[in-house]
């Protein structure tokens, strides 16, 4: 597991700015992006602060399509590179992300989600879970998907994302939301220069006499070769399971387990406290990696807890993975708000109380 090294004193920062500062401290060598609310601060911060450092390229591209392909080129040339956007922009990048995954190029992608579908709203959302975890673009591929739930994690996940991307030669994605990008919190930043660079002998840096030429491509016309590439990718995704991360809060004696990630997980903790006052034992499981998904812990908890409630800012996306994990052992309920609405702890509490009644839990604690 990756060990962070931190500054000694905390700073007060916006999520987007903490993420941008962390990228500079993580030794990012190139950023290619396009403005979109609610993550434009990333590009703004980098254009201001990158010139103070040596050899950091920051380029405002003409579109998200161009920026993701610049990422392809720069990552293929061996640089540690990143792009960020928000939901509609991430949709535009999907073709390029598929190519990057197929060509096995390490890079960091950031989606500060907003409400959709379509142009939607600029308010926070978690509606891109399917896109992030199930592929998004064409073909069988995955990203290493991290879900920060604080400004602290907005910074940490940049380091972790780069680390995993280079360790496995694959794209990582930080899946945040508009609120995490915009909110101010105390953050203990990871130390400058504390992320070593991986060896990249495969990169196109100019063919020297002592080696064969390096080719970055996702094209393999022979279906047997293409199946081999697919098998290698699937093998990589199996190995990636050792990087699963999650947080458990009060799950030991919980009757109802809330499953939520990112911002929603923090709201669920408040709902958990409110439920305790009502005499209902509630715990929270917060997946930190959305891909690979922490199926096992949920499956284990299903042996003891009597019901699960998934809370998301969408119409019910991660709940499908929760149901796969529980596999019919216990009922799995869902509470979602959509279109940029953040659920409040009270409405989650109402849901918890209804479930408690259905499961006849209230009688036990009343």
């Amino acid at each position: 597991m990756y060990q962070f090294q931190y500054d000694s004193t905390p700073k007060l920062m916006k999520g987007n700015e903490a993420l941008a500062e962390a990228a500079l401290r993580a030794g990012m060598q190139g950023y290619f992006g396009y403005p979109i609310t609610p993550q434009s601060e990333v590009l703004e911060y980098l254009t201001e602060h990158a010139p103070k450092r040596k050899n950091v390229v920051v380029l405002q591209a003409e579109s998200e399509v161009a920026s993701i392909n610049m990422i392809y080129g720069a990552a293929g040339a061996g640089a540690r590179v990143m792009t960020s956007s928000s939901s509609p922009g991430i949709s535009l990048m999907q073709e390029g992300i598929s190519y990057i995954a197929s060509a096995e190029l390490p890079c960091l992608l950031v989606n500060v989600q907003r409400g959709g579908p379509g142009l939607g709203t600029i308010q926070p959302s978690q509606a891109d879970y399917f896109q992030a975890t199930k592929g998004g673009g064409h073909g069988d591929y995955h990203l290493f998907v991290l879900a920060p739930s604080s400004v602290q994690e907005m910074a940490e996940h940049v380091f972790l994302g780069f680390h995993i991307a280079e360790k496995y030669r694959m794209p990582s994605l930080v899946l945040a939301d508009g609120a995490l990008g915009q909110m101010l919190e105390k953050v203990l930043l990871p130390k400058d220069g504390s992320l070593p660079y991986a060896e990249k002998s495969w990169a196109t840096t100019g063919k020297t006499k002592d080696r064969e030429r390096n080719i970055i491509t996702s094209l393999h016309i022979d279906p047997n070769k293409m199946e081999m590439i697919n098998l290698q990718l699937q093998d990589k995704y199996r190995k990636l399971k050792q990087e699963i991360r999650f947080e458990e809060i009060n799950t030991k004696d919980a009757d109802i387990i809330l499953v939520a990630y990112g911002l929603t997980a923090r709201i669920c903790q408040k709902a958990m406290d409110l439920a305790k006052e009502k005499g209902i034992q509630v715990g929270v499981v917060r997946p930190i990696t959305l891909y690979p998904f922490p199926y096992e812990i949920l499956s284990t908890l299903a042996e003891k807890a009597s019901a699960f409630l998934t809370v998301e800012m969408n119409a019910g996306q991660m709940v499908e993975d929760v149901r796969l994990a529980i596999n019919g052992k216990r009922p799995v309920f869902f509470k979602g708000r959509m279109g940029g609405i953040i659920p409040n702890p009270e409405e989650i509490l109402l849901e918890i109380e209804t479930i408690a009644e259905k499961q006849q839990l209230k009688n036990i604690y009343a």
Binding site: G73, G96, T204, G206, I215
Partner: protein, 255 residues
Amino acid sequence: MNTITIPDEMELVYSKPETITDTPLHYCPGCTHGVIHRVLMEVVNEMGIAEQTVGVAPVGCSVFAYNYMNIDMQEAAHGRASAVATGIRRVLPEKYVFSYQGDGDLAAIGTAETIHSVNRGENILIVFVNNGIYGMTGGQMAPTTLLGMVTSTTPFGREQSAMGYPIKMTDLVAQLPGAYYVTRQAAYTAATVRKLKKAIEKAFQFQTRKKGTCFIEVVSNCPSGWKMTPIEANDWLEKNMLPMYPLGDLKVPKE
């Protein structure tokens, strides 16, 4: 009686440059891609910059360019070669970077990337092979297809009222301040090939100046897509393509 001395070994006056691989070309008979590949790689070899050069292949007939060029290469998504080249050159600012693109790739799906890469004055060379047709997918209309020209998607000839006009990308690009050297060449005769080689040499030399984008259009043929023999295709190119896409420099830097 005079005696003739026969040398043990004949003098080698022409050979394949190290920058070309032994892979047999997949191009159709008469197609100029092979010639353009060869000339491009000859220049890289003769300038001794193979170790400092990274190329970008497009989607189209030349999608496999990386199989023939013995240098580090990347294969870009359709239309995005100049964005990919931008990414490479920005993080490797001392290297020579070129993209090699067809007219569908560069002038249709990749128009935005082309215009903006040149407008930023990216220090790359863009080689634009224009044969007025989508060759790889079976001869459909390209943005550069001439009016009246029959393709598999303009079976009655390209009609302006429905399909607009052939686009002159090189003329467009020459207007941009970020363009440093813009020229239109061809590769269908020995003379045009020699001129093309000179243009490519200049373009690589200009890259070290870091003054902007070099853009070379190569007016090309497509015997298969045009449904002609190679000789007919070259005649047709001269009579029909060149009046629309006249050869010559459009923008030359002051020495």
